[in-house]
């Protein structure tokens, strides 16, 4: 995870420079100059996506063209060729049409849920992806929730006892977990908990709900560790900043219990920069999925990507890139909408500060 420090400090140093959702909300408010409803805010956010979706689809469409040998080579996937086969493929996939009409045809297919056929397994790509989506979704959701809960608590405790032993331990955990890549952590845990002290299963998913859950414990731990350091770091910095404000001093002076100040006021204010960072958190978790599923042999999207990469299975890669893009975009919209919930000052585009 390369961006931890920049992210923390960037968020810390420039409260005036509004980025992401706050920036957009702020600009919208300025332009409209009046109160907006949540519905129209959400609608505007969705409308902003249209150019983004367009760019993503064009890029995914062109992916097969950047393969050495072009789309035909991509579709053949390294099989032996002769002129007749090539011509047949060109005719079948309309490769003789203009690029533009090919694109339109492709988008039409995608809208009907047809992402093509895997070169390697000859299964429909959409089916492959749908089959493997749930387990990846669960792993990512668990990782994000756990890392936020643990990271924010750790950051809060570290900020409370700044400079003390607890703080040092928290900072240490943060530095090590943000430096240790998930594939190393995964292998180390496999060694520790499956070979040295065989406690947990480490391969595949097993059958039945309880077995599946048991098989997912280790992968989920590794997944949650990936963004943990980063969350802790940001939470600690955000808490420290809040703790140095006047309102905390006042609240202390008035005799409001520390617990109440921390949980009620400091935490809520500190959540804003944490939320800003959670876009990066989602990306980090998604990246970790690829490695974690590979090491633990979990049949999810990450494993599918690794297989597709090994077999140069272009249609599957295209489908996965599309799904990933949609995933990141939806997550970012959710984050934007969460701002409104957490920080009333951003209410639908007006910033009262």
């Amino acid at each position: 995870m390369p961006d931890t420090l920049e992210q923390t400090e960037g968020a810390r140093q420039e409260p005036g420079a509004l980025t992401g959702a706050r920036g957009i909300a702020w600009r919208l408010g300025r332009r409209a100059g009046s109160e907006q409803t949540l519905a129209s805010y959400a609608l505007r956010r969705v409308l902003l996506l249209i150019p983004l979706v367009f760019v993503v689809t064009v890029v995914v469409f062109l992916l097969s063209s950047i393969v050495p040998g072009g789309p035909v080579a991509a579709l053949l996937g390294g099989h032996a060729t002769n002129t007749a086969t090539v011509n047949a493929i060109r005719a079948r996939y309309h490769l003789n049409d203009s690029l533009f009409s090919q694109y339109i045809a492709w988008v039409g297919q995608v809208l009907h849920g047809n992402l093509g056929t895997s070169i390697y397994t000859s299964q429909p790509v959409s089916q492959e992806i749908l089959n493997r989506l749930p387990v990846t979704l669960i792993l990512n959701a668990v990782a994000i929730v756990v890392s936020i809960i643990v990271g924010v608590s750790l950051g809060m405790v570290a900020a409370r006892f700044r400079g003390g032993r607890v703080d040092r331990i928290a900072v240490g955990i943060s530095i090590v977990t943000s430096s240790a890549p998930s594939y190393v952590l995964a292998i180390a845990l496999v060694y520790l908990l499956a070979i040295k002290y065989p406690i947990l299963p480490v391969e595949g998913l097993g059958t039945g709900l309880s077995s599946e859950a048991e098989h997912l414990i280790l992968p989920a731990i590794v997944m949650a560790l990936a963004p943990l350091g980063f969350v802790t770091k940001i939470a600690r910095a955000a808490m420290l900043e809040q703790l140095s404000t006047d309102y905390v001093a006042f609240a202390r002076a008035r005799g409001i219990p520390r617990r109440r100040i921390y949980l009620r006021y400091v935490l809520r204010n500190a959540l804003v920069p944490i939320l800003t960072a959670s876009g990066l958190l989602i990306v980090t978790a998604l990246t970790a999925t690829v490695f974690v599923e590979d090491v633990f042999g979990i049949p999810g999207l990450g494993g599918l990507l690794v297989d597709a990469v090994e077999n140069t299975d272009i249609p599957v890669i295209q489908g996965l890139v599309l799904v990933t893009a949609i995933w990141v975009v939806i997550a970012n919209i959710l984050i934007d909408l969460l701002y409104v919930v957490i920080d009333p000052r951003v209410s639908f585009g007006r910033l009262s500060t």
Partner: protein, 286 residues
């Protein structure tokens, strides 16, 4: 480097007294891997590619300090030899990050206006991209190797740096010395890259360290998936994949390169953090 005794934050002082030991250790490890990369072949007496069919996947012994891998190659020699590809690619990525973020970040921060807005929108967009996944896909499709991966990471690693350098430049721009220089008629580029650049140099160096650590982890990850580094080369990421299979016979074959990645990345991050914190403490003092 050492905070004065009169510093108002007593805790800050004790922080400083503590960190250098760790930072010194971190420097020591970085230097050790540099030495390994440059003179590794002189340290090890066994060639990293020599296969010994009579000792396959053995545990550490006197001759093989970390045992052997599945082809009977000496793990210790391979870890030492792997430091080359672990250092070279990340160094290139970090250097390009240093140059790009310095040029663009200072320019955007100093100019403001449209230049700044466009730069920051692009940076915001790049933050939402899963950089490593994009690298995986492109390297697969183009069937490129290590250097293609390095090239892509050079571009996709730069957004955080630019954001940070830009905000540091914004802070500098408000200082009287910049105003004075502008009035004196000192050329723009000179103010930007000579004076502001020199003042925010610690931040650029901290970025350099963090880029390095990020690229190290990313490149090793690509090698782990069988991308980038060529099969057969002594590369830490590649060793992890190859030796994952013999985790039962000789766990050190996979754990040692993994540990090397973690310790080197942690060390470099620690050094970067330290440079940055020292700079912040200095500006608090002022």
């Amino acid at each position: 480097m050492i905070a004065p005794v009169t510093l108002p934050h007593r805790r800050l002082g004790s922080r400083f007294a503590r960190i250098p030991i760790l930072v010194a250790l971190a420097w020591l490890f970085v230097l050790a891997s540099l030495v390994a990369a440059l003179f590794g072949h002189l340290i090890t007496h066994i060639s990293p590619s020599a296969q010994d069919p009579f000792s396959i996947a053995t545990l550490p012994t006197g001759t093989h300090l970390l045992g052997t891998d599945g082809l009977g190659r000496d793990v210790f020699s391979r870890v030492v030899a792997g430091s080359t590809s672990a250092l070279v690619g990340p160094l290139v990525v970090a250097c390009s990050g240093f140059l790009l973020s310095g040029l663009v970040g200072i320019w955007a921060g100093y100019s403001g206006g449209l230049v700044d807005t466009i730069t920051m929108r692009i940076v915001d967009f790049m933050f939402a991209l899963p950089g490593l996944l994009i690298t995986i896909v492109v390297v697969t499709l183009v069937q490129g190797g290590y250097w293609l991966a390095v090239g892509i990471l050079c571009v996709l690693n730069v957004q955080g740096d630019i954001r940070l350098i830009r905000s540091a430049t914004l802070a500098q721009r408000a200082l009287p010395y910049v105003e004075a220089e502008r009035i004196t008629g000192i050329p723009r580029w000179r103010i930007m890259y000579r004076h502001i650049g020199r003042n925010i140099l610690p931040i650029l160096l901290a970025d350099f360290a963090i880029d390095f650590a990020g690229a190290l982890v990313a490149l090793a990850g690509l090698a782990f998936l069988g991308l980038g580094a060529q099969p057969g080369t002594a590369d830490w990421g590649l060793m992890l994949t190859e030796n994952e299979q013999i985790l039962f016979q000789n766990p050190w074959a996979a754990l040692a390169p993994g540990l090397a990645i973690v310790v080197l990345a942690t060390s470099v991050n620690l050094i970067g953090d330290f440079i940055y914190e020292r700079r912040r403490a200095a500006s608090v003092e002022r």
